[in-house]
């Protein structure tokens, strides 16, 4: 599973300590579920996106968010099926395509999905795996649990990279003159490869001593300059969303 989302940088978010960053990400994800206004939805979606552009640039931001676009499109296609008894806002030939309530439901899902995914991607783009583990350990999370969380966090970008690999491989088998790739076999292959990865990862962890009886030495994170300020910013930003709840 040798994929890393981390991008070297010197942005303000890179300089942010991992501890307030983890709490900020968690608070943001929780508050995203409390939001219930159009302005709130827009901010949930846009806030991580803007910070990502400022941290890793527009190109990398596009690379991350472009993976979510197919899901957004799929959700939008489901709008006609949502709350058909609601207030119609778009009809074609007497057929209600969209109701106000249906649009509301889908936009709420898109905002939460985009916002929370964006916040998590931002964390992975600006923190190395080892620092995320150290950060989780600083909150007294057991080492095994911290490692598991960090591996789970990397699992989704890994699947993305694996799918690219499979798609490329499939595209090399097309008949001359044809483009694209077979979607269903690629998804099946992804599922098979993802399942195979589980025992491989477990074996690799154990072969390198994960789970040994002797206690692992705790590694303390230093306190950077402006640590308290970072905490304040890390808490205030997600809580500020509540002003437009």
């Amino acid at each position: 599973m040798n994929v890393s989302s981390y991008i070297y940088g010197a942005s303000f978010y890179h300089k942010f300590d991992v501890r307030p960053k983890l709490i900020s990400t968690l608070l943001f994800s929780v508050i995203a579920f409390i939001m219930s206004s159009w302005t709130g939805f827009a901010l949930v979606l846009l806030m991580p996106l803007v910070i990502m552009v400022l941290s890793v640039g527009a190109k990398e931001t596009w690379r991350c968010y472009s993976r979510l676009i197919p899901i957004f499109i799929l959700l939008i296609l489901f709008i006609p099926l949502q709350k058909r008894s609601g207030l119609p806002i778009l009809s074609v030939g007497g057929f209600v395509v969209m109701t106000e309530e249906g649009l509301w439901i889908i936009m709420r899902i898109i905002a939460r999905l985009g916002g929370i995914s964006g916040a998590l991607m931002l964390l992975l783009l600006t923190e190395r795996n080892e620092d995320i583990i150290k950060g989780l350990r600083a909150f007294r999370m057991p080492y095994n649990a911290a490692l598991t969380v960090s591996i789970i966090l990397r699992f989704i970008p890994y699947l993305g990279s694996l799918f690219t690999e499979i798609r490329d491989s499939m595209s090399l088998r097309l008949e001359e003159g044809k483009h694209g790739y077979p979607i269903l076999p690629s998804i099946t292959a992804l599922a098979v490869a993802a399942i195979k990865m589980i025992p491989d990862t477990a074996a690799s962890l154990e072969e390198r001593g994960f789970g040994r009886r002797n206690q692992r030495k705790s590694i303390k994170l230093p306190y950077p300059e402006g640590y308290l300020t970072q905490w304040l910013i890390g808490v205030i930003i997600p809580f500020s969303l509540l002003l437009v709840r």
Binding site: S4, S5, Y6, Y8, E130, E175, H179, E206, K217, I219
Partner: protein, 444 residues
């Protein structure tokens, strides 16, 4: 009396017998070379010793693996860390973390070492395998040979009593093969190197050479293999690249400058064989990916018979057999993989016979070498005019590799063969190219 005594019988859950009284005795500090054909059980042997089998791949295991009077098979996998360690043939399945340093520090922290000792061992291992400048780099940005050196660095940092190197010389450049041979020669630990074919770098490194046949250890009989005279029938069609510029930046660290490769001119005719040489990380695979359309070039053009092709058009014209076969095999069985090429049943049967493939074999259960043979069969059936072999000679016996080259050349394919084995390079016909200093040029 031997310090290490191994006696194993093992069969997979499916009933496929692998070892029947596989007996091996070793003295402490002995360096042993075990040469056997792909699919003979080398990797299974390594995985049994470290414990991944039978815990993660079910099967019936019987026997013992005694080190200093303790049966290691009775220990949990993590408790074997200081006793036995392996460099996997498939490096991708072993790398888990986001940086080179983290990969090395993980087992050291699990050993319970102090931070100072961990840093000392990391620096030692990185220096030993020339990876110092990659310390903070993501492992996904390393080339195949660099990943192999990282796996070696991890093992040497842990420094167990027994080192198992599963095809560890493969994918290393000639310079690094020589250096690894020197390192092993001076190592006071027990080392077992598993290989599919004899390499000239092995000379003078090992006290014994054995083989595996019919599930048991056998004496190794060296039979020099002479590559056949390959039949070249050079055709009119030509794949050309002009003024290519390939660039790639390291995203995870600012300590490395961007990688850049310049190809003033390259051509490969149908039926021709061209050998490509170069150091690890010099850009051989990146060049191949550009020729195949999997990676975009910064500049330049690639054409076939004068017609400039887009990246998408190249994908269905130029075949690329990647270093790691599992990157190209995803379907359940060998037959499914072959059927995906839309070749006729007759051709599929012929290819299975030619490459020694069991049609009903499950792809994920194939050994690394057998997976390479299936990869060869699949691309053989696709009948691309131009084919790139990215270190296909590694993990295959010389006989299997030679017959694969013959099969492709006899069918008039233009073959670009990337290799680190100078004896293979010398045996293959045609021009020799080298990437050096970021430029592709012809060897004199």
């Amino acid at each position: 009396m031997a310090d290490i005594d191994i006696d194993l019988s093992f069969s997979y859950e499916s009933g496929e017998g692998i070892f029947s009284r596989f007996g091996l005795s070793l003295h402490k500090g002995e360096h042993l070379l075990l040469i056997a054909s792909p699919g003979s059980g080398k990797t299974t042997f390594a995985r049994i010793l470290t414990g991944a089998i039978p815990k993660y791949i079910n099967g019936d295991l019987d026997g013992h693996f005694i080190v200093n009077g303790t049966d290691v098979l009775s220990l949990d996998i993590p408790e074997r860390l200081e006793i036995v360690g392996r460099v996997s043939q498939n490096t991708d399945e072993m790398l888990l973390f986001s940086s080179v340093e983290e990969e090395i520090s993980f087992p050291l922290e699990n050993l319970g070492l102090e931070a100072e000792e961990i840093q000392k061992r990391i620096s030692y291992a990185l220096d030993l395998f020339g990876l110092g400048r990659y310390r903070n780099v993501s492992t996904s940005e390393l080339s195949g040979g660099e990943k192999r050196r990282l796996m070696l660095a991890i093992l040497f940092a842990v420094n167990p009593e027994i080192y198992i190197l599963d095809e560890a010389f493969d994918e290393l450049s000639p310079e690094w093969r020589k250096r690894l041979a020197d390192i092993i020669r001076n190592l006071d630990r027990t080392v077992v190197v598993l290989g599919s074919h004899m390499l000239m770098e092995y000379e003078g490194v090992f006290s014994r050479t054995l083989s595996i046949a019919d599930g048991a250890v056998r004496p190794y009989e060296y039979r020099p293999f002479a590559f056949p005279d390959f039949h070249l029938s050079i055709g009119e069609s030509v794949l050309e690249a002009d003024n290519l510029l390939i660039e790639r930046s390291h995203r995870s660290s600012d300590e490395l400058s961007s990688f850049s490769l310049s190809i003033p001119h390259f051509e490969l005719h149908e039926g021709e064989c061209v050998v490509l040489l170069g150091e690890n990380g010099s850009g051989k695979s990146s060049f191949s990916r550009v020729l195949t359309g999997l990676l975009k070039e910064m500049n330049g053009k690639i054409s076939i018979d004068g017609k400039v092709l887009s990246a998408k058009e190249r994908r269905s014209t130029v075949a690329y057999l990647m270093q790691n076969p599992y990157e190209e095999l995803f379907l359940p069985t060998a037959r499914d993989e072959a059927a995906s090429t839309k070749a006729s049943e007759h051709d599929i049967e012929k290819a299975f016979h030619l490459f020694g493939i069991d049609p009903d074999a499950y792809v994920q259960e194939l050994s690394y070498g057998k997976a390479k043979m299936l990869q060869l069969a699949v691309f053989y059936l696709l009948r691309r005019r131009f084919v790139i072999f990215d270190e296909m000679d590694s993990a295959l016996s010389s006989e299997d590799f030679a017959s694969a080259v013959s099969a492709y050349l006899d069918n008039g394919r233009g073959l670009l063969a990337i290799t680190h084995d100078m004896s293979v390079a010398a045996a293959l016909p045609g021009r020799k190219l080298r990437i050096e200093g970021g430029v592709l040029h012809e060897c004199q």
